[in-house]
């Protein structure tokens, strides 16, 4: 149905009304009006907070016990519980230097891994393997951090680059498998996650990483020279990793929107057949983009092994980052700046959630629930639109991937 009005009749367009103001930015993809880009995520956050409040209320067992006798007081208790929880969440995320430090520190690997997933989405690939790439990248950095003796000025870059190579190889492997054999990256990256996780578990028990005489799967402390320097002294965990993450945001922006290979990534992401027509090597692009994606995840691994006090590494250092990354890439509409924004949001939620858990007695799982809700609302834009009666044109879903057939 080609003529149903989504296209204006040609005559309606002013023939001489072209404007090239800021044309570069528009072509490059950030021209999407800020309002439109932020509207849906913001509404999703609001909805998640509302549902979260509801959950806090219905799980307030003490208040429910009083409900029979003094319903109003009980309801007041519930609302008070919500208030305290959200107040503490906010204080824990932004309320002090320590809170800000924790928010930024927690955001760092999330932003990096989120960029990794976003780059994949832009090229039409669904990289679920950030977790595995974090493991491999982190182990590469850990090895350099333990066994290479260099001054800090060299040691950190070498360890970080090693992490990118390690993560890149792990991601590139999935890309190569897709390019060569057509194996779907969703399957291969999930499987490589398992391989990486169990490999990590095993290798931490070998003499390669283990402290001498130890029998538990924990690495020796990495050398001082390889530890990411903290920014505000050792009492705050925030370290130069956040600068790496921000630099990565700009780098990914440049790659995607200003470089020729980024043009190819995006073309292949939207239309593999048009890329083939345009003379692009789609098979190479799959491998390249997965390498880049893996390298970014590897950076997140580096911040986890080189930047996390007490600088000894245990098996699950990838934590939930690999999966949070998928959520925040969606939330950030696969745009580097969007990922930065949503990475900070998730970091704040997690850091604030720790404090909320302690001070308000609300389980940390609520934070996970809220993250999940945000993503569900992002993934179901119709729902958000229906609730807020937002016009379709203003809150379009982001293109994620061309799906299983890609």
């Amino acid at each position: 149905m080609t003529d149903q009005g989504t296209q204006s009749p040609p005559d309606e367009r002013p023939p001489n009304g072209r404007s090239f103001d800021g044309v570069m930015d528009r072509i490059a993809g950030i021209g999407e009006p800020i309002r439109r880009a932020l509207l849906l995520p913001t509404l999703a956050l609001v909805l998640a907070l509302v549902v979260g409040a509801f959950i806090i209320m219905v799980t307030d067992v003490d208040a429910w016990r009083r409900m029979g006798d003094e319903p109003l007081a009980a309801l007041g208790d519930m609302l008070d519980g919500v208030w305290v929880a959200y107040r503490e969440l906010f204080i824990g995320a932004f309320g002090s230097v320590r809170a800000l430090s924790e928010t930024l520190f927690t955001s760092t690997p999330l932003i990096l891994a989120g960029l990794a997933v976003a780059v994949g989405f832009r090229a039409g690939l669904f990289n679920i393997g950030a977790r595995g790439q974090i493991f491999v990248g982190g182990l590469f950095a850990l090895w350099v951090g333990l066994h290479v003796d260099l001054p800090a000025i060299l040691h950190i870059p070498v360890a970080v680059i090693a992490a990118m190579i390690g993560g890149g190889i792990w991601g590139g492997l999935a890309g190569l498998l897709k390019a060569r054999t057509g194996a779907h990256e969703v399957i291969t990256t999930i499987m490589l996650n398992f391989v990486a996780a169990f490999f990590t578990l095993w290798v931490l028990k070998t003499s390669v990483f283990q402290e001498e005489g130890s029998t538990i799967p924990k690495s020796a402390p990495i050398l001082e020279s390889a530890r990411l320097p903290t920014i505000f002294g050792s009492q705050y965990r925030i370290n130069i990793g956040i600068f790496i993450a921000i630099a990565a945001v700009f780098f990914v922006y440049w790659i995607l929107f200003r470089s020729t290979i980024g043009f190819e990534f995006r073309a292949a992401g939207f239309s593999p057949s048009a890329s083939l027509y345009a003379g692009m090597n789609v098979a190479f692009l799959y491998t390249a983009v997965m390498f880049l994606s893996g390298a970014l995840s590897g950076l997140a691994g580096a911040t986890q092994t080189l930047g996390l006090p007490p600088y000894t590494v245990t098996d699950n250092f990838a934590g939930n980052i690999g999966f949070d990354a998928i959520a925040l890439a969606l939330l950030g509409r696969s745009h580097p700046f969007g990922v930065l924004w949503s990475g900070l949001l998730f970091g704040a939620l997690i850091a604030g959630g720790r404090v909320m858990q302690a001070a308000a007695g609300v389980t940390v799982d609520l934070v996970i629930v809220m993250q999940s809700l945000i993503v569900i609302f992002i993934a179901a834009p119709e729902l958000v639109r229906a609730i807020f009666k937002v016009k379709a044109a203003e809150a379009e879903p982001t293109q994620v991937t061309t799906g299983w057939g890609a």
Partner: protein
């Protein structure tokens, strides 16, 4: 993996809401499995009445000045049906006995990133006694114990880390040895099996003692009962699932492969990873049994598995945690020492036989009793695990 479960957290929430509305029970700190956590901790209250713990000294008579306690789990969370759950239950016992102030703080970790901020939160909240759970918190505990000498610390499953840190360690292989002897005595196929979550000392110590107990049975009785999953001569070859998440299919697969080889008595070591094995035994209709670990499985595990427990190798994390807090509250903190639980002091032992009581002959029961006594007295000894290395 457990971490992938978070995508299903939303569904868990609805389950939680139903659970919370359904029974009106639960605690201030609810979690995605809140209702179950409650049963666990309630059940653990009874542990002290079970056989092995009978000879422990009662501390209720003592005069306590209640301390403020903060409990930090490792990334498995408090509902691990393992050391985190047991430690938290011990904290609550300390509250009950008056050694800990009411409303102790529980901080659940979701990842390694949480350990330090949680410990910092404990300190900021003015905790006088901080219990950290598991070896993953060792380095963080050591660092903060050093900079906070006025605070007393207890670390579960690890040795003392300083003059103000009490280590809780367990010579569980002593009881596991007796359990192995028992298993070898009741197996009908002549094959028993064991597997662990991850090859760490706190896990493999069970498997090692168990396998040695089976070997002892063979030696004494001229039998040839076979052990799958562990060979004391080659500890690196021990069978491990790599996960502590019972929902992971690898857990069921690991158990089933041993059942395929004919094992009828199984010792899975690591939280609730024995439950899928129980399901497998039931669904195959095998006349087999499970050996539980940590807290008496009859109390700690769901009712549908009640017929399966041969015995539990009890590891008194709960009681030792309570004792460590109580020592502090009594004005004699045990910091600087490792409380090593063993048969002798009763923090390690075997539970009652429960459903399998009729299946264990009086002779066998007497032999097991004798073995327990011989280990205590040193008449039976072997190259035991050195606990607390690291």
């Amino acid at each position: 993996m457990k971490r992938q479960m978070r995508f299903f957290a939303i569904f868990a929430v609805f389950a939680l809401v139903l659970a919370a509305c359904g029974d009106g029970e639960g605690e201030a700190t609810t979690t995605t499995e809140g209702a179950e956590a409650t049963t666990t901790s309630e059940a653990m209250d009874d542990t002290t009445t079970s056989e092995a713990m009978d000879d422990t000294t009662t501390t209720e008579a003592m005069d306590f000045e209640a301390v403020k306690v903060c409990f930090v789990t490792d990334d498995a969370g408090v509902d691990d049906r393992s050391f985190n759950a047991s430690g938290w239950a011990g904290v609550q016992d300390a509250v009950a006995s008056g050694a800990a102030q009411p409303d102790p703080i529980l901080l659940e970790s979701a990842s390694a990133e949480d350990y330090q901020p949680h410990v910092e939160t404990c300190l900021a909240q003015g905790a006088e006694h901080i219990v950290t759970s598991g070896f993953k918190l060792a380095d963080t505990t050591a660092a903060f114990a050093e900079t906070n000498p006025d605070v007393q610390w207890t670390i579960i499953d690890f040795g003392s880390l300083g003059p103000n840190v009490t280590g809780l360690e367990y010579q569980t292989d002593e009881a596991a040895f007796a359990a192995g002897y028992l298993a070898a005595g009741v197996t009908q196929t002549g094959i028993v099996g064991t597997y662990g979550g991850v090859n760490i000392p706190t896990v493999s110590i069970f498997m090692d003692g168990f396998a040695r107990g089976v070997a002892h049975y063979n030696e004494v009785n001229g039998a040839s009962v076979q052990v799958l999953g562990w060979d004391p001569a080659d500890p690196d070859a021990g069978v491990m699932t790599g996960v502590f998440d019972p929902a992971d299919p690898i857990v069921t697969a690991t158990c089933e492969s041993m059942l395929d080889e004919g094992a009828d008595i199984m010792l899975p070591v690591g939280g609730a990873i024995n439950l899928p094995c129980g399901t497998a035994i039931q669904s195959r209709g095998i006349d087999g049994a499970l050996v539980g670990v940590d807290a008496d499985a009859v109390e700690a595990m769901p009712a549908e598995y009640m017929d399966l427990w041969l015995v539990t190798i009890e590891k008194g994390i709960q009681i030792q945690t309570q004792r460590s807090i109580e020592a502090h509250a009594a004005g004699e903190p045990s910091g600087g020492t490792s409380l090593v639980g063993n048969l002798e002091n009763g923090a390690v032992g075997l539970s009652e036989y429960h459903a399998w009581e009729d299946r264990v002959s009086d002779e066998l029961a007497a032999e097991v009793e004798q073995i327990l006594e011989d280990i205590k007295s040193g008449a039976i000894t072997w190259d035991k695990f050195v606990v607390g290395a690291g």
